[in-house]
């Protein structure tokens, strides 16, 4: 048996030029097709122009009374961003949710604004969002407007600076709101 295996191995080795000696066909002429002009970059962009977003911010709410009158604030917001086309950086930002200022305010928030976010990965967001706010301030019903400017790196950090004017009865109350996203802001698309 060992001899037979050795003989086969020897036969294989002796004949083993290592090739079937198939005659290679003449290679076809290979052309190099090149792009004419610079390639556009549109269809490779993600086709989704709508993305969900959620924003949880913690910060400080300050009444503009001439004195230091601040309280901690928390906003819980969800919504959507809708870009004007897959290569458009501009889009609509819609969000709504609940905002609370400790010991003072409980507000329902609904905002629709404009946002600028380059499509793709790790691009910054700038958004200007007017919000309608309704709820209670110091135990009294109110209706008002919060205009926010949001700057952020989606997924990591966002900062919000807002001016809020709320009418408690006939009296306007001006406040400044500063918030930082925690744990994240998610802006789709």
């Amino acid at each position: 048996m060992t001899i037979a295996v050795a003989l086969i191995a020897a036969a294989a080795r002796s004949s083993a030029a290592g090739s079937f000696d198939l005659i290679e066909p003449a290679p076809p002429p290979i052309r190099e097709i090149e792009e004419v002009g610079a390639s556009p970059h549109y269809y490779r962009l993600p086709p989704n122009t709508v993305g969900l977003l959620s924003r949880t911010t913690m910060g400080v709410h300050t009444r503009l009374t001439g004195e230091i009158d601040s309280a901690p604030a928390l906003d819980l917001l969800v919504g959507a961003s809708i870009r004007f086309g897959r290569d458009s950086a501009l889009g609509i930002w819609i969000e709504g949710g609940y905002a609370v200022v400790r010991g003072r305010e409980h507000l329902a928030v609904l905002g629709v604004g404009l946002a600028r976010k380059k499509p793709g990965w790790m691009s910054s967001i700038v958004a200007v969002i007017p919000h309608v706010v309704a709820g209670t301030i110091d135990g009294e019903s109110c209706l008002g407007l919060r205009t926010s400017v949001v700057l952020g790196l989606p997924g990591y950090l966002s900062l919000e600076l807002a001016h809020q004017v709320a009418f408690v009865g006939d009296e306007p109350m001006h406040e400044l709101h500063f918030g930082m996203s925690f744990p994240f802001v998610r802006g789709g698309g």
């Binding site: 191995a9 294989a12 083993a16 005659i23 290679e24 290979i30 097709i33 390639s39 549109y42 269809y43």
Partner: protein, 289 residues
């Protein structure tokens, strides 16, 4: 086509006709994937024209086998019919290309990949058993290492790094010793697979060599050579949470009739030439779909 044309009209994106005319295939492939069947057909036709896929088939008969395994060629050629199929394309401005071939007999698979097991079954040889090896480079040990790092080594006395065993092929000399015919055949079938060919302008082309084992018992079956080429373009990430490497893909298939299996050698010689003739231009004569 109509949908993309309409979108182009309202200024959303470049027209597909412009993309293919100027060979912007990375864009065109993604446009086709997002578009309609008409869009995909348009891009396929343009790719077929520019890729100019060439195919060549050569049967490995007893004469060829005898150059590798000597007197055992006759016996082996009765049990197995080997074929070499080559596929080449032009270089195209695309991110990836892949090619595959298969033979069908009356619509059923007729070939199998040439593996150690296939060859051993045909030569009647016994293959060396796989060996067991072990490694400490495992996901579990990585996590244990992370634990040790974040506890400043305090968890080390309670952490046991464990090896994981896995099977590996026996070394080549073991195959040579136990299965010399199979080894000689395997060694003769190099190079195998597809090697991308890079163009100067960043394009990519294919040069593939496949070996298949044809079942010689199905002599009455109508044989077709199925050729598939896939063109891929990298898509940008959807958002900051998207870690996938998404690729747009357009595929082309060609089905080349090769006649009855028992007349395969004559038909292949007629279609692809007695070796010295150039490869047949499949796309020029057959329709890819």
């Amino acid at each position: 086509m109509r949908v993309l044309g309409l979108l182009a009209l309202v200024g959303c994106g470049p027209s597909l006709t412009t993309l293919t005319k100027h060979h912007h295939y990375r864009e065109a492939v993604c446009a086709a994937e997002d578009g309609s069947n008409d869009d995909r057909d348009h891009v396929r036709r343009a790719l077929a024209r520019d890729a100019d896929v060439h195919v060549h088939v050569a049967l490995i008969d007893e004469v060829h086998l005898s150059g590798v395994i000597g007197p055992h060629a006759r016996e082996l050629s009765r049990r197995m019919q080997l074929a070499r199929i080559q596929l080449t394309t032009n270089t195209l401005p695309i991110d990836e290309l892949s090619g595959s071939v298969d033979m069908l007999g009356d619509g059923k698979p007729l070939t199998s990949a040439v593996t150690w097991e296939t060859l051993a079954a045909a030569t009647g040889e016994k293959l060396p058993p796989k060996r067991t090896d072990s490694t400490y480079l495992t996901g579990g040990n990585f996590l244990r290492g992370v634990g040790v790092f974040f506890t400043f080594g305090m968890s080390l006395p309670f952490t046991r790094f464990r090896p994981q065993s896995y099977e590996v092929d026996a070394p080549h000399h073991e195959y040579e010793r136990m299965a010399p015919l199979s080894t000689a055949l395997q060694d003769a079938m190099h190079p195998r697979g597809c090697s991308p060919r890079r163009g100067r302008g960043g394009g990519i082309g294919l040069a593939c060599t496949f070996y298949v084992a044809i079942d010689p018992t199905a002599s009455d079956r109508d044989v077709r050579l199925e050729v598939e080429v896939a063109y891929l373009a990298k898509r940008d990430r959807r958002n900051e949470y998207d870690w996938r490497d998404e690729r747009c893909r357009v595929q082309q298939r060609a089905s080349i009739p090769l006649g009855r299996l028992r007349e395969l050698d004559l038909r292949i010689a007629r279609m692809f030439g007695p070796h010295e003739r150039p490869r047949m231009r499949v796309l020029r004569e057959l329709t890819f779909d």
